[in-house]
Subunit: 217 residues, 2 copies
Amino acid sequence: MNCGKSVSNPIINRLPKYYRILCFLKKLGVRNICSKELGDEAGVSPSQIRSDFMCFGGEGLRGSGYNVNILINKISEFLGLNEVYNLAIIGAGNMGQALAKNRSLERKGFRVVGIFDTNDFIIGKKIGAIEIKSLDHLSEFVNQNHIDIAIITVSSTYAAEVINKVIEVGIKGIWNFSQVNVNVPADVVIENVYLSDSLMVLAHNLKNYKTASQFMP
Amino acid sequence: MNCGKSVSNPIINRLPKYYRILCFLKKLGVRNICSKELGDEAGVSPSQIRSDFMCFGGEGLRGSGYNVNILINKISEFLGLNEVYNLAIIGAGNMGQALAKNRSLERKGFRVVGIFDTNDFIIGKKIGAIEIKSLDHLSEFVNQNHIDIAIITVSSTYAAEVINKVIEVGIKGIWNFSQVNVNVPADVVIENVYLSDSLMVLAHNLKNYKTASQFMP
DNA sequence: TAGATTGTTAATCGATTAACAATC
DNA sequence: TAGATTGTTAATCGATTAACAATC
C-alpha cells in the first residue's frame, strides 16, 4: 500500500494538520474540498496540498477536488490511525495525570492501560479506572500487556534513566514530555514534545513583532 | 542588537534546542564546547551550528570553540528569555491545572498570574496560590495586570471563541493547546502545541519502522 | 610554531511553487 | 462543450553542507 520510496519529514509533519482540518470541516458538513480551499485553511499553497497528497495516491477528481471522507480515510491509514495503541504513562505527576484524564486521546485510539510512578505516597491510588503501579513492576506488566507507547512524564532529573528502562523492557515507541535529549536505538521511535521550546519560540516572536511594529505601525 | 535582516524559522526553531542542551551541559560542569561536540549532541552538523550562531554574532574563539556561559546568555537574549512574562491560563481543566502547577515555567521567567474558567463549580477554588476567576472578569483583570501570554486550555469546542475574546482584550501572545486552527491579526503571535499531531507522527513512525525492519533485520 | 576550530563563502541538496496538459 | 481542478514535471527558491582562509 506504501508507494515504495519513503515520504519526507516535512510532508509527514503536515499530514496531521490536514487531518485535523478535514475532520473539523467534516463536522461542519463539508463533503468536498479543492486544494485551493484546503490550502487557505492550512496556510500552504494549493500546489503543496496536491503534491503532498501524492504520497497516498492523490484520489482527487479533476474539475471538482477531493472527497473529504476519502481524504480522511487515506490520511488515517497512512499515519496508522486505524489501529489501537496501548499506552503506559511513566510519571503520575501533574502532566501524567492530565494526560491520563484526557478523553480525546482515547477517542483517537490511544488507550492508556497503565500508569507508573516511584512515589510510594501515590502508588495504589487510582486515576479514573487505573491504579498507579510501582515502576518496579513495569517489566512484569509489559510481559502481560502489549505496550506500544510509553509516555514519559517524569521530571527531567530521572528521565534519561526511565527512558533507558522503557527501552530495556522492549517498548518501541516513546512520547517524551521531559526536557532531556536522548538518542535511542534504531528500532525505537521517540517523539519529543519539549513544551518549553515552544514557549521560547513564542517569547522570541512576541519580542520581534513588538520591535517590528515600531517601524511599521 | 539584532543583526538587521530577520532570522529564518528553521534557525529560530533550533535555538531552544541548543539552549536546552547547553544548560544541561553547564550543570555537568562543561565550560567550553566546539561546534562538532554540540552538533553531535543536537543531531545537526558542525557547519550548521556555526552558521546558526551567526544570528547573534558567533562569539566563538578560533582554535578552542565557544564559552558555554556566553552562548547561553546570547541565546537567552536573542530569544527574549531575560524578561519576565505574565501568563493567564484560560481553562482550568486537566491540562490548565497541570500547567499552573508546573514550577519549571516559573523558573524560566514565565509567571502564571491568573487562571480563568466558565465552570461555576470550580470558580473560586484555588490552584496553588491563585484563585480561579470567571472568564467574564478577564477584561477587567487585563486592565489591572499586564498579561503577555494567554494559555488556551479550554476544550476545542470553545477554543475559537475564547481566542477571539483574548485578542479582543488586547493580549498579544497566545500559547494554544486546543485543536483549533485559527488565523490571528498581524500584531498577535500564536504558538500551537497540537499534542495529537505529535502523537500521530509517532504512530506513523512506529508503523513504518516496524515495516522497514522486516526488510533490514 | 603546529594544531585546532572558527567565520564565511560557494557548491550542493532538497523542498516548494509555477505551469500546464489531462480530464472530470 | 466550457469551466474547473487535478496530477505531474520543470523551474525556482531556500536551507544545508563542504571547504578553506583566518586566527586563536
